[in-house]
């Protein structure tokens, strides 16, 4: 049994320690907002927060999350920064297919908590691990500035 806290709820999971957190979330806990994209930590679709830090859940063994706080997209509405990011995403109309956007929002939220006043270069660097095949990058940049309250840049 591995115990971990997911979105402030305690879970006891009977899964192998090496199972990636992604599959534990999706197939065992049935939290499907976190997406599978590559399985190698290359695309960012599976990004969640582990004690507040953005991690790629597809390459994070569930054992590495034991005793820690896992936060997923499903809890962003109750996160002060996360909810601002979500609102900005809607205002700007970022999403096209939307599949990568949970991961984008998780990365952007963790990033904005570290850097409240980001430049375009900061964003390009911090968001470089999240692929969007629809090509919504310009709107992601605009939305991050907007969430940061940098209206003049948005």
């Amino acid at each position: 049994m591995i115990s971990l806290t997911i979105n402030d709820q305690q879970h006891e999971l009977d899964v192998p320690e090496q199972m990636p957190l992604l599959w534990a979330l999706r197939d065992v806990v049935n939290l499907t907002g976190t997406k599978f994209g590559c399985g190698m930590g290359l695309c960012g679709a599976c990004t969640v927060h582990l004690d507040g830090a953005a991690v790629r859940s597809c390459v994070t063994p569930v054992a590495a999350a034991a005793g820690k706080h896992v936060t997923t997209i499903e809890a962003m509405a109750t996160d002060a920064v996360g909810s601002k990011v979500q609102e900005a995403w809607l205002d700007v109309g970022v999403a096209q297919c939307g599949y990568c956007q949970a991961g984008q929002i998780m990365s952007a939220t963790a990033f904005l908590k570290d850097n409240a006043n980001p430049s375009d270069d900061d964003i390009a660097s911090a968001m470089g691990g999240n692929i969007c095949r629809c090509g919504t990058y310009n709107r992601i940049r605009t939305a991050i500035h907007r969430a940061a309250g940098q209206e003049e840049q948005a």
Partner: protein, 779 residues
């Protein structure tokens, strides 16, 4: 565009039934409808020419409840293009509904009820704008009639306001909800009794709404987005997000070599892995494979990870007997073979004047060979499907571009009566043509049957996706031109070679199909005295398929690059030279140049309009301040292309730094699709096309060696990331409301890669003829 009666009303129903019969028979209908080129006498165009045609019955698409809520059924696949919002907007506007009271629901695969559902070819709005408006106008008329009965007044005194019917002389009002039950009992009004709202009364259609468009009179704080809130909160349901009781999870080991089958399998180690339930041998298919799965060994488990681990432990011997060509497929040597073949004449597709004389007598002669590799769609959501199959019933949940096609395939390949096959449609995490092929739904169905009807979710991993997709064709295009002493083109020869998509539907024809050639090759709009367009032989060794914009990609890359090369050699400005080559504004008859497919549209309405090509070039170059002075190492590149009944020109402002890295500073896209329904989403499609096109230009490449694809994941198949996006994308929508409506999802893409390589030439003097740019600018 205030047409109360349009050409769709003339649809021939018997034709529709004929195609419907075909559709039930085979995936060949998919091929057939692409290639209905040799016009039958009763040929139908547009929506009427599609299998199952169109439907405008209000009861099929619009439901109004007593509480006033309006539910619009979207029957097209939503894959990021925004159709689930845009079609619902059309219905809401025509109905007179308050957007905040409108919901969308998704149709299952049932084209007899909903009409054609095949979401590709950039045709959803082009084909469904009018039927959806008529459906909504009918529903509105029924509400007005119900109000007239309630008030006992003439119906002409009753008119829809916003979510109410108003008795205009008295000002009395009844809400949609109050009238819903009575309206439902009424007959559907005849089509010729309908009056569609004039453009002046539109509140949503054609409006740029939301804070990004502050200059417009926004009636909504945000642009409409049916799934917006679900997406940002993780609640949106994609193919892998359904959870059924007792569901198992699976992956499949498929053969690297196309057509190979399982000779033997040792699954003893697999079955030791905790969570693995069973393995299943799956029949492959001989070629052409159509929408049949590739076969292999399925591993079914309690969760996806156990299935993946179980697959790693399989020991499979593959039988590749009789498949030497596929087993030896090597893209490097294949490319060389095509380049050699380009030295010899191909099948002549279109010719005028004396090409040999024009080339021989030219003042100067130029030749260039362009190469585009195989591409993989790499939708962020890899193919995934859930199926629950018993002996005589099947139900599936999957992200497919054509749920009726998925239903037909499950019906055929599983041998189940089609009336007992239900295909539920989820959102698509990207489509780009990949998910128009429902092979993965059939795989899931076979696995569920093998598990005695337990529901099974089949997940393709990224490796599966890159190794086994239906690849965009590797292409070689050889262009040759002779210029006169004035620098003008006297003769133009284009030889194109690439495996054809038709190779998945029939014994490999080895030549491009009419519709493939019609994507930017045969409709060449230039004003040149001598012309020869030719197609050489190219066999297929992988499944070849549609990729967003399809064969327009290599054609546009070659043609738009070559024009820039000729302009440079003539010492002329590229823009001026391109406009001169196009010649004066005129409409070219697609049939006259052999472009008989014409995207399935009536050649009399949908011509090749040189004036519109000129228009987008002029707009893009003006907006980009073409010819402006730029620092060293920086340059502007231009390209234009007509595809999917729309016109796009792009100017990119590009820097190549000391390290040979490419930075795109600015993109100016001028786009003319005729009438616009959802300008906000049109802009989004152009922005996305620019980024995807930069990926095709700089990064994307699929290669094969020994029949095996060499790219396993995103460390090898490189996609554009945040830093590759232009610093600024500026989309300029060209007003052309009286033109016939064009497509949006695809036509932005073809000109991006040539605009990029033309800009690189302007910045560095280095001409890129081989995609992707990759390391060609380094050291």
């Amino acid at each position: 565009m205030n047409r109360t009666v349009d050409t769709l009303l003339l649809a021939n129903v018997s034709r529709r039934r004929f195609l419907q019969g075909l559709a039930a028979g085979s995936a060949l209908v998919v091929a057939a409808r692409w290639d209905l080129a040799a016009a039958a006498e009763d040929k139908q165009y547009g929506a009427a020419g599609m299998p199952y045609g169109w439907v405008d019955n209000p009861n099929v698409f619009i439901q109004i409840d007593e509480d006033g809520s309006v539910t619009v059924t979207n029957h097209r696949a939503e894959m990021g293009q925004g159709i689930r919002t845009s079609l619902v907007m059309v219905a809401a506007d025509e109905l007179g509904a308050d957007w905040s009271k409108v919901k969308a629901t998704q149709a299952p695969g049932d084209s007899e009820t909903y009409g054609n559902q095949d979401t590709d070819g950039s045709r959803s709005m082009r084909h469904w704008f009018d039927p959806m408006r008529r459906a909504a106008a009918s529903a509105r008329r029924m509400l007005e009639q119900a109000a007239a009965q309630r008030w006992d007044v003439p119906v002409d005194e009753c008119q829809a306001g916003v979510h109410v019917i108003v008795h205009t002389p008295s000002g009395r009002e009844l809400g949609f909800g109050e009238l819903a039950a009575a309206a439902r009992e009424l007959d559907i009004p005849s089509r010729d009794s309908l009056t569609l709202k004039p453009e002046s009364e539109w509140r949503l259609i054609g409006k740029s709404l939301g804070p990004s468009h502050a200059s417009d009179t926004a009636s909504l704080e945000r642009a409409p987005a049916v799934d917006g809130e679900d997406i940002v909160s993780g609640k949106a349901i994609y193919g892998g997000d359904i959870r059924l009781p007792d569901m198992a999870y699976a992956v499949i080991a498929r053969p690297d070599v196309l057509g190979a089958s399982v000779a033997s399998v040792d699954d003893s180690e697999t079955l030791k892995i905790p969570g693995v339930i069973k393995t299943v041998r799956l029949e492959g298919t001989s070629q052409p494979s159509s929408f049949h799965p590739l076969g292999g060994v399925g591993v079914i488990a309690d969760n996806t990870w156990a299935a993946i681990e179980g697959r790693k432990a399989l020991k499979i011997q593959w039988n590749t007997e009789g498949l030497d060509a596929n087993a030896g497929y090597d893209t490097e040597s294949y490319r060389k073979m095509l380049e050699q073949r380009a030295d010899s004449p191909g099948k002549v597709l279109r010719a005028s004047g004396d090409i040999e004389a024009a080339l021989a007598d030219a003042e100067s002669r130029h030749s260039a060979t362009y190469y585009m590799p195989h591409l993989a769609h790499a939708t962020m959501e890899p193919p995934v499907a859930i199926a629950r199959v018993s002996a005589d019933e099947a139900e599936t949940w999957a992200p497919v571009q054509d749920p009726q096609s998925a239903r037909d395939q499950v019906t055929e390949q599983l041998g189940i009566d089609g009336t007992n096959v239900k295909v539920n449609q989820t959102l698509l995490g990207g489509g780009f043509g990949r998910k128009a092929k429902p092979d993965f739904v059939v795989e899931a169905a076979h696995l569920s049957r093998a598990l005695d009807g337990r529901p099974v979710q089949l997940q393709w991993t990224r490796e599966d996706d890159l190794h086994h997709t239906y690849f965009h064709a590797l292409s070689v295009d050889r262009l040759e031109a002779g210029l006169g002493s004035d620098g003008k083109v006297q003769g133009w020869r284009h030889r194109t070679l690439a495996p054809t998509i038709m190779s998945i539907f029939q014994d490999d024809p080895k030549y491009k199909a009419t519709y493939e050639l019609g994507m930017g090759l045969t409709p060449l709009p230039f004003d040149i005295p001598a012309l020869s367009l030719e197609n050489g032989e190219a066999p297929a060794h992988k499944r070849i398929g549609w990729f967003r914009s399809v064969v327009n990609l290599p054609h546009a890359f070659a043609i738009q690059s070559f024009v820039a090369e000729l302009a440079a050699s003539a010492g002329r400005d590229h823009r001026d030279y391109l406009l001169e080559l196009l010649g004066p504004a005129r409409e070219i008859d697609p049939l006259a140049v052999g472009a008989t497919w014409n995207y399935g549209e009536d050649p009399e309405r949908y011509t090749i309009d040189v004036g519109r090509l000129r228009g987008v070039i002029e707009r893009a170059t003006e907006e980009a301040d073409w010819g402006k002075s730029l620092p060293a190492g920086r340059g502007q590149g231009l390209a234009v292309h007509h595809s999917f009944c729309s016109y796009t020109a792009i100017v990119l402002d590009v820097e190549v730094d000391d390290q040979g890295s490419v930075i795109v500073h600015q993109a100016d896209v001028a786009f003319d699709c005729g009438p616009r329904v959802n300008p906000e989403r049109i802009r989004a499609q152009m922005e996305g096309s620019v980024v995807m096109g930069i990926g095709i230009g700089l990064l994307n490449e699929i290669s094969a060696s020994g029949g095996r694809i060499e790219q396993d994941n995103f460390h090898q198949y490189l996609l554009p990331r945040q830093a590759n996006a232009p610093r600024e994308v500026r989309v300029h929508l060209v007003d052309n409301p009286d033109a016939p409506m064009g497509g949006v999802g695809e036509p932005g893409l073809p000109p991006v890669a040539p605009a990029l390589t033309n800009a690189i030439f302007a910045a560095t003097g280095k001409r890129i003829r081989e995609l992707p740019v990759g390391n060609q600018l380094k050291g």
